[in-house]
């Protein structure tokens, strides 16, 4: 089983000096935080805010290469989250065949946003995610932490 997730926000985690990408399902029942590095957060934030950089950033290039050969990103699935190793699959359609490519969730999400492709999470990932840590986070959150990324 997979659940479609929507990007809810991107916030800075000063304790780990990292960023958290927050995904939420349609009903708001499931919340999935993904810790990413600064560069990865930048790549996601640019797509979220629809910022057109003067030069193509790495994920824009990724999309250009796929576009050059008419390969389409159909969907992205977050398949596993361990302590330091996160897994995602990018599903591509190319010449009537489907291909699945292994990726980090941060790359997968940055690309999905640029290709307007849906992002899903495996149910096992959602179940595995202990909500404790996130709840602690949300308690400490100030509204401005979500900033303009909150939809």
């Amino acid at each position: 089983m997979i659940t479609q997730m929507h990007l809810k926000g991107l916030m800075f985690d000063p304790y780990n000096n990292a960023y958290i990408v927050v995904l939420r399902d349609e009903d708001g029942h499931e919340m999935l935080p993904i810790w990413v590095g600064k560069a990865e957060a930048g790549a996601i934030s640019m797509a979220l805010e629809n910022v057109a950089p003067p030069r193509p950033m790495t994920h824009d290039l990724m999309k250009s290469i796929l576009d050059a050969y008419d390969a389409k990103v159909i969907s992205v699935v977050i398949t596993d989250l361990n302590e330091n190793t996160y897994f995602a699959k990018i599903h591509l359609m190319y010449q009537d065949s489907e291909y699945t490519v292994d990726a980090r969730p941060s790359d997968a999400i940055a690309l999905a946003l640029r290709c307007s492709a849906p992002v899903f999470a495996k149910e096992s990932v959602l179940n595995k995610q202990s909500s404790e840590e996130l709840e602690q986070w949300l308690e400490n959150l100030k509204p401005e932490d979500f900033g303009k990324l909150d939809s």
């Binding site: 990292a18 810790w35 990413v36 590095g37 600064k38 560069a39 990865e40 930048g42 790549a43 003067p54 030069r55 193509p56 950033m57 790495t58 994920h59 290039l61 990724m62 250009s64 290469i65 796929l66 050059a68 050969y69 390969a71 330091n84 190793t85 996160y86 897994f87 990018i90 591509l92 190319y94 291909y99 490519v101 292994d102 990726a103 980090r104 941060s106 790359d107």
Partner: protein, 166 residues
């Protein structure tokens, strides 16, 4: 690897990645390219810290537990049977270099515009040759590198600091 036709294409000089230098005062790195024909000319390009890190990983053939962004691009190309034929630093405008990535799939060539840092990262991972056009070589401004290197010579010999990111 077929050479581009000199009649229709600008003359190309082949380069290799020499090293990535740290610029400690700012959040940038300097990618230094060296000529493959032994000519003692180096070609510096100022790039972002994350971009420099991606190039260093490829230069040092560091294995990361998960595919980094350029490994993912390489992964896509392997699935689509697309190869990188060459990358060319083909233009410079207002001190910004422009690279073109030449791709090929079943005889169909496509070109994609890229930042030199992404193009070089990809070239290292796909072992594609890297060129700079003579026109760009003639039009670049090296004076700032010469002075920068003169100041930094002592320090660059000491161990280089790694950038940390996920």
């Amino acid at each position: 690897m077929s050479q581009p036709n000199p009649a229709s294409q600008p003359r190309l000089i082949e380069y290799a990645v020499d090293r990535v230098l740290d610029e400690t005062n700012t959040d940038t790195k300097i990618l230094v390219l060296a000529r493959r024909d032994g000519h003692p000319d180096s070609f510096p390009i100022w790039i972002g810290a994350a971009e420099g890190h991606a190039i260093k990983l490829a230069l040092d053939t560091t294995l990361t537990p998960r595919p980094m962004s350029h490994d993912l691009i390489k992964g896509f190309m392997e699935h689509l049977n697309v190869s990188v034929r060459r990358i060319v630093i083909a233009d410079v405008k207002n001190s910004t270099y422009y690279a073109t990535i030449y791709l090929e799939n079943n005889g169909v060539e496509r070109t994609v515009d890229a930042r030199p840092s992404d193009a070089v990262s990809l070239a290292l991972r796909t072992r594609a040759p890297l060129y700079v056009t003579e026109d760009v070589l003639a039009r670049r401004n090296t004076s700032n590198l010469e002075s920068w290197l003169a100041k930094q010579d002592v320090r660059t010999s000491s161990k280089q600091q790694e950038v940390r990111e996920s």
